[in-house]
C-alpha cells in the first residue's frame, strides 16, 4: 500500500512520477489553493458561456479581454500613485480594501469596455452581413492576436514604456499573503479570502441578474429563442452588447484577483492559457449554462491542483485538459447543461 501511495512510476525510466501521497498529505491545502484558481476560472468562464448562449459563438478573444483587465487594474494602481517596488505597500486593512476595490473597478472598466468594443467593431459588422459561423471564429482568433500585439508593441509607445511591451509588469504589491487561520491544517491566507469572497459575491450577483431581473430574462430569451425574443420587443443587438459587457466586467474583476495570486503574471501573453482553461471550465460545466460555468471553474481549479500534486507541477495544464477531454468523451454536454439554451441560463 505504501508503495502505491508513495512513489510509483508509469514508465520504467521515470518519465511520469506519480505520488498519491503528495495528494493525501496536502489535500486541504491543495483544495484551498485550487478553489482560489477555480474561482478565477469561474468568473472568466461566465464570459464564454453567456456569449455562447446568445450568439452560439466561442469568443476566443475573451482571454485577451482578461489580459487587458490585468493591465487595467495595474494602470489604475499607477494612477492612484502606486509604483512597482520589491516590498508591499502597507496601508492598513481598510485602505487596502478600498484600493483593491478601485483596482478591480479599473480592470472591470477596461475589460468591459474592450469586450463591448470588440463586439461592435469585430462581430456586429459580421452579423449584419450574415457571415457564416466559421468567419466569426476566425475573427475571434484574429482579434485575439490583435489585442495581444497591441499590448506587446503599441501600448508601450502610448505610455512611454510604462505599460505593456515584451516583459511582464513589475508587480505592485498591496497585499502580502499571510495566514489568517487554518482549516484541517491548511493555511488560509488573506489573499485566498479576498479571492474567494469577491468571486462568490460577483457570482451571486451575476446569477441573480441573469435569473431574476428583466434584462437577465431578455438575455435568456435571446439564448432560448432569438426570433420569439425579437417578437416580444427584445432588441437582440442591445442584449448582445449587454452580454459582452457582463462577460468583460467579470473578466476584469477576475484579472485583478488573479494578479493577487500571481503578481508577476501581467504580460501581453498572460491571458492565453488562463483563457483556454476558463473556456474548458465553461465546457466542463455545460456551455451556455451560467451555473455550469461557475461549477466547472471551481472543479477545474481544484482538480488540476490535485493532478499537479500526484503527477508533478509540470503536468498541471495537462491534467486540466485531460479532464476536459474525459468529460467531453463521457458527457459531451458538460456537467449541468443538458441542452444549451434550454437549461436555465
Amino acid at each position: 500500500m505504501s508503495l502505491l501511495l508513495h512513489g510509483g512510476q508509469l514508465y520504467a525510466d521515470g518519465v511520469i512520477d506519480f505520488d498519491l501521497g503528495r495528494l493525501a498529505d496536502n489535500f486541504w491545502a491543495l483544495t484551498v489553493d485550487g478553489l482560489t484558481y477555480g474561482a478565477i476560472y469561474a468568473l472568466v468562464a461566465v464570459g464564454y458561456t453567456l456569449v455562447y448562449g446568445v450568439l452560439r459563438l466561442i469568443n476566443f478573444a475573451h482571454s485577451e479581454i482578461f489580459m487587458l483587465g490585468m493591465f487595467g487594474q495595474y494602470a489604475m494602481l499607477m494612477l492612484l500613485g502606486f509604483y512597482p517596488s520589491g516590498n508591499a505597500f502597507d496601508k492598513g486593512v481598510l485602505l487596502t480594501v478600498v484600493y483593491l476595490c478601485l483596482a478591480m473597478i479599473g480592470g472591470m472598466v477596461v475589460s468591459g469596455g474592450a469586450a463591448v468594443g470588440l463586439e461592435r467593431l469585430a462581430y456586429a459588422p459580421l452579423r449584419k452581413r450574415g457571415a457564416p459561423s466559421l468567419v466569426f471564429l476566425i475573427t475571434a482568433i484574429g482579434a485575439s492576436f490583435i489585442l495581444q500585439e497591441f499590448v506587446h508593441f503599441v501600448l508601450p509607445k502610448l505610455t512611454g514604456g510604462e505599460l505593456g511591451g515584451v516583459n511582464a509588469q513589475q508587480p505592485i504589491r498591496l497585499v502580502v499573503p499571510t495566514t489568517q487561520f487554518t482549516i484541517f491544517g491548511a493555511d488560509v491566507t488573506n489573499v485566498d479570502l479576498v479571492i474567494i469572497v469577491a468571486a462568490l459575491a460577483l457570482a451571486f450577483v451575476t446569477d441573480r441578474f441573469i435569473n431574476a431581473t428583466k434584462f437577465g430574462r431578455g438575455i435568456r430569451a435571446v439564448a432560448q429563442d432569438p426570433v420569439t425574443a425579437t417578437l416580444m420587443g427584445v432588441s437582440r443587438e442591445r442584449i448582445i452588447m449587454l452580454t459582452f459587457l457582463i462577460g468583460g466586467v467579470l473578466a476584469g474583476a477576475a484579472a485583478m484577483l488573479y494578479t493577487l495570486r500571481v503578481p508577476s503574471g501581467i504580460i501581453f501573453s498572460g491571458g492565453f492559457i488562463l483563457g483556454i482553461k476558463a473556456f474548458s471550465a465553461a465546457v466542463l460545466g455545460g456551455i451556455g449554462n451560467l451555473r455550469g460555468a461557475l461549477l466547472g471553474g471551481l472543479l477545474l481549479g481544484v482538480m488540476e491542483l490535485y493532478g499537479q500534486a500526484v503527477f508533478g507541477t509540470e503536468w498541471r495544464d495537462v491534467v486540466a485538459f485531460v479532464l476536459l477531454i474525459l468529460v467531453l468523451m463521457f458527457r459531451p454536454t458538460g456537467i449541468l447543461g443538458e441542452s444549451l439554451g434550454r437549461a436555465r441560463a
Binding site: R217, R220, A221, G341
Partner: protein, 239 residues
Amino acid sequence: MALLEITDMSVAYGRIEALHGVSLTVEQGELVTLIGANGAGKTTTMRAVSGLRAPSRGSIVFDGKDITRMKPHLRVLEGIIQAPEGRGVFPGMTVTENLEMGCYARTFESKAQHDETLDHVFELFPRLAERRDQVGGTMSGGEQQMLAIGRALMARPRLLLLDEPSMGLAPMIIAQIFRIVSEINAQGTTVLLVEQNAQQALSRSHRAYVLETGNVVRSGPGRELLADPAVKDAYLGVA
C-alpha cells in the same frame, strides 16, 4: 382609416419571391383571417408585419404610420405583437417568466396595471394560473399555445397577430382556442389570424383573405367565403 394597411407588398427570400404584391387591410376592432395552403405566404406576411422580414416592395402602414422599415422591437412598442407559428414558448422559463416576456418592451403606468393585465390573462386561461411555476418546455401543446397567446396579451396589444394557433392540437383544444380568440376580439383587441383550419377560422372572422402562392386570390366577409364553392373545394375538404 384602417389600423393596418398593407399595400402591394412583395417579400423575397434570396432570389425567391414568396409574396407578389399582397394588399390587405385590418380595421380597428376586426378579426381578420388569412387562409391558404402551406407555402402560400401566410407566415411570411406575418413576419413582414412584425418586421422579421423586410418587404422588397410595397408598404405597411400601422395606424397612419409607415412602419415598413421600422425595427421589429420598436413595432412592439407601437402595439403590434405576435404569437408566432410553433408557439415560441421559451422552453427554459416558467409560465410567469414567459408571460413577463410579453410585456418586456412595455412600461406599465403602475404596478396595479401590470397585475390587472396578468389577472386578465389568468382569467382567460385559468390553466396558466394553475401552472405558473411550471417550465414552459414541459407543457403540452395546448398549454403552450395558451401561454403564447397569454404572453402576447401581456403587451396589451392594439393588433394581435396569431400564426396558426390550432397547429398540431386536438379538436377539443382547437375549439377552445378559437372561442378564446373570439372573446379576446370581442373585448376590443384587433386580431389578424393565420389559419389552415379554415372552417373554424372563417366562421369566426369578420373578414378573410385567401392567399395562393403569394397572391391574394379572394377576400370578403368570413361567412361569405365559407359559402364560396371554390373556397369550400380547396380549403374545407367538402365538395
